[in-house]
Amino acid sequence: MKKRLVLFFALVLALVTGFTTMTATTANAATDTSLSKVQKKGTLVMGTSPDYPPYEFQATVHGKTKIVGMDVAVGEKIAKDMGVKLVVKSMSFDSLLVALQTGKVDMVISGMNPTPARRKNVDFTHTYYQGGYSIVINKSDKGIYKNKDSFVNKTIGAQTGSTMYNESKKQTSGTTVKGMTSVSDLILALQSHKIQGVAMEKPSAQAYVANNKELAAIPSDFNLSASDTSASVAFKKGSTALVTAANKSVDQIKKQNLVNKTYLPAAGKYLKTNTVNTSMFHYWKAFLTGIEYTLIITVCSVFFGFIIGVILALARMGQGGAVKTGLRWLATAYVEFIRGTPMMVQVMFVYFGLGLIVNLPALTSGIIAISLNSGAYVAEYIRGGINSVDDGQTEAARSLGMSSGLSMRYVILPQALKNIWPSLGNEFITLIKDSSIVSIIGVSELIFQSNIVRSDTYRGVAPIAVIMVLYFILTFTASRILNYFERRMQHD
């Protein structure tokens, strides 16, 4: 099962758990209202990471992109049995459990295995699917490799941090294990003969083999405990009523063998229709959505970042008075702090951390985080710009009776802006590229969309090439437009 947990995701999780347990234990102690709450709002929100066929992936159904797969079928059954509507929310796998704890989603179904470590933070249902592992190889090598032990002096690939990655390291000798973040990348490495095999889950392996004639699957023969190969539904810790209700559905699924008999074949059909046409042009809508969101995020963040930047710059330049000194100190601390922490962490903190207080959609969170981040940088540009304006300008304005505010607004800032316009332009272009960071909280910007196209089409390079060109078109156009305005501002 997927078990990727980058270190700081774990940290965020721990942090959030700390918060929630502090605030939530008293509420849970009395009576568990989790089920009645869901029934009252009429929807059950399922979080999933749709880059893992046939568990969950995006498919184009009647021209619309939709998240499908056997996990979605499981989710639909659970929702139906509770008498509510299922809503599927996509985000990166690493963010799922945090989203669950912060109430962004009601449950997580994403091929997740109920490990003891996870059980500490969330409640799991019974297992709805018992999987296993295969190794995908190039069909041309079929005679050479039989199982995990055939790769002496060769390289096996696996998703970084996954069970497979760890077990491949432990249970082979003389074999190099290469970790990569996404399965599509691993397949690509396999086909370009950088690695000789990819360890992955059996259903996934079957999906890849079925969709790519160059590939074949062999058994892995790893020694594994049941909990490492089983999939369960996760709920927020303490929501016993929900777990009990979901378990009824899960037990039925098990008893009637619904996964193997109905869900997997149905998912396979989507996979087929999905991969009939893998030309990039077929996915133009997905890319267009990506461009749209990338631009929305960039433009909004530049706008708000600029306002924040001006305020911070003015606060940093304030002189005299206890209030002004305090503000200056605060603004300086803020700028230093923002510039000293990664934007990715800030994005996650806003989405998950702030999410504990107000439930913000991912897009809004992304815009807030990037604006806050950009503001700190813009503030420094503006401060430099203001300092670059001759003192005589302020004196002339003040001698005319203009207040310091009026002087700043009508005399100093316009000149400062002209001086720093190239830097601001660079910031805008940087943001077009850096906005990709919000893909981790599931905003459908270009990177996120390209990952979906990659897992949909089993093509590793083409979508990357497409977004590379798209990013370039965006940044190039932006820099042309900025140059035009720069030229128009040149009076002297």
Partner: protein, 246 residues
């Protein structure tokens, strides 16, 4: 006798340990033209800037029209600054605005005068300084003499009671000094109260009502131009004049 429009009482100003102005008590009557002369670094600019509180005095007071500036709040100081136009050695025009916009900005933003009225007044002032044909030019395209005349027009647009000039011709090429001094002379003829820091002795002689000789943080002499130039009282002034008039 009419009440003086500016009264300076025991004014002192230090920058750190540097005592630039030590103890100055003088007054300017309405309609008077005062020329301040003295050696470079003697504190003339600092003195002028203390008059409209661009520089905060260390001690003493500056009364303008009966109000002690050093005790007023920022808002009132801003209001009184409207009544004291200032012209700088380096012009300090706003480079991002046309000549017309330079002149209109403060009347519109500070006094709330509407665009049409401000434009009309700006053109009048530009005619007064012989530059109406440059209304739409940007400062960078002007000569020094033209720029300084625009700066004068800009200061006049606030209808000040007093005009402060800090070496208005020192940054100019010699052939442009005349056009600026002419404008200033005309202004004096119209009865404007003026405090002018300058090294143009000819201007001092022909236009000034009083000459203040400033050196070492004091006004060393305060006299009529005739008396001052023909018969300076202090050794300091004699020394200064002998160097300048050589």
């Amino acid at each position: 006798m009419t009440k003086p429009i500016i009264e300076v009482k025991n004014l002192a100003k230090s920058f750190g340990k540097n005592e630039v102005l030590k103890d100055i008590t003088e007054q300017v009557d309405s309609g008077q033209v005062i020329v301040v002369i003295g050696p470079s670094g003697g504190g003339k600019s600092t003195f002028l800037r203390c008059l409209n509180l661009l520089e905060t005095p260390t001690s003493g007071e500056v009364d303008f029209d009966g109000e002690n500036l050093t005790t007023l709040d920022t808002k009132r100081v801003n209001e009184l600054r409207e009544e004291m136009g200032m012209v700088f050695q380096g012009f300090n025009l706003f480079p991002n605005m046309t000549v017309l916009e330079n002149i209109k900005l403060a009347p519109m933003k500070v006094k709330g005068i509407n665009d049409a009225a401000a434009t009309k007044r700006a053109h009048e002032l530009l005619k007064q300084v012989n530059l109406d044909d440059h209304a739409d030019a940007f400062p960078s395209s002007l000569s020094g003499g033209q720029a300084q005349r625009v700066a004068i027009a800009r200061a006049l647009a606030m209808d000040p009671k007093v005009m402060l000039f800090d070496e208005p011709t020192s940054a100019l090429d010699p052939e442009m000094v005349g056009e600026v001094l002419n404008v200033m002379q005309e202004l004096a003829n119209q009865g404007m109260t003026m405090v002018v820091v300058t090294h143009e002795m000819g201007f001092a002689k022909s236009v000034a009502d009083r000459v203040w000789f400033m050196a070492d943080g004091y006004i060393q002499e305060n006299n009529t131009p005739e008396a001052f130039f023909d018969n300076p009282q202090t050794e300091r002034a004699q020394d200064f004049l002998s160097k300048i008039l050589m």
